[in-house]
Symmetry: C2
Subunit: 214 residues, 2 copies
């Protein structure tokens, strides 16, 4: 399913809504209104309705949303109906943390391989995979992997991204604090942890009110 | 320095600009234009000028920005002129990765303490700190710490946040995939790694063009 002109910020919030719908559903709520979802997630109900409006009518006005239907609809919108294979490059501290993370499965992500250049790490089992030599990435069958996670130092990130693009990766989650150039058809999301921390002090003196999630 | 009505998205991008300014400065550029900064960071020059406009005139029209002045000005805007003390709660895989991370210093962050509830971790040295028992957090002197990083399981995150608020923490970087309620004066930024990954498949079929950073 393809939707044009949907703001990136809306796409960014949709998985958050999915997480909220699931928690409320697990709590036995088979029907929810945007207000209850908003309260649970710490966002505004107006924002949720606005975001949903990009994808047509997801619920019936006044009667709220059927949680199991909404779960399925959001997964369809986000292309999460089928599972996606993921490779991780860089099995240092952060990469090891990612491999031990159990939260990916609920969105249908399978980390199928991990790569590093450190001989002390190659061949070791981490999470569900055995770490391979990074020089082996290019031997992955073309288009056999959907997404890549880059957790290497900044100096190596571009080279790794180029290899990932060459084997047909469609999206990259990058933790290296550096700009990576990729073809337009490849989506890249960068999480620079230091930069996320660096915006907190701004609010220490300004006393601005704000939501808990953005 | 306090600026009202600055969008959160602008504040989010300011540390990114700071990172870019520094790299270009280290490369010997004492004067840069918004275009060269934009090209380096993979954002639009228009966006940079718009973001800067919230904080008055940062450069002279037509002659660009003096990098060392711009560095100082952005740090002043972001309240990064002085250093900030940080505590980390949760020294599992992710917490250990954060403690070993060397990128915080450049923004003036010092992780001064780390806490966990696991007896196998308490007392061990990780990065520059020795891990303390989580029950000791409340013994930190009130207002002696600026920021907190939460890297505990979702089920424990709210309780930890409450303790951090009680000792006067002003901002929280939260990695637990859950909504945390804090007083309005406390800024909280949540990084849910699975959710960041979960928005990539949306772009796999839509073929939308997009920048490398957002």
């Amino acid at each position: 399913m393809r939707y044009r002109k949907v703001p990136d910020e809306t796409v960014r919030r949709m998985p958050l809504y999915l997480r909220g719908v699931r928690v409320l559903s697990e709590r036995g709520q088979s029907n929810i209104c945007s207000k209850s979802l908003a309260d649970y997630l710490g966002v505004s109900a107006w924002q949720i309705r606005k975001d949903f409006s990009y994808f047509g009518e997801l619920g019936k006005p006044g009667v709220g949303y059927d949680t199991s239907k909404l779960d399925k609809q959001i997964r369809r919108i986000l292309n999460l109906v089928r599972s996606h294979s993921v490779v991780l490059i860089g099995v240092g501290n952060l990469g090891s943390a990612i491999l031990s993370f159990t939260g990916f499965g609920q969105y249908g992500f399978n980390i199928i391989a991990a790569f590093d250049c450190d001989a002390n790490v190659i061949g070791k089992k981490k999470g569900h995979v055995v770490v391979d030599d990074v020089s082996e990435i290019s031997r992955l069958k073309k288009n056999s992997v959907d997404l890549g996670i880059i957790a290497v130092p900044a100096s190596a990130a571009q080279e790794i991204a180029d290899v990932l693009v060459s084997i047909g990766i469609k999206g990259i989650l990058n933790f290296a604090p550096v700009y990576i150039s990729v073809p337009k058809k490849v989506k890249i999301v960068t999480i620079d942890i230091a930069i996320e921390l660096a915006r907190l002090p701004y609010y220490m003196s300004s006393g601005q009110s704000q939501g808990a999630w953005e």
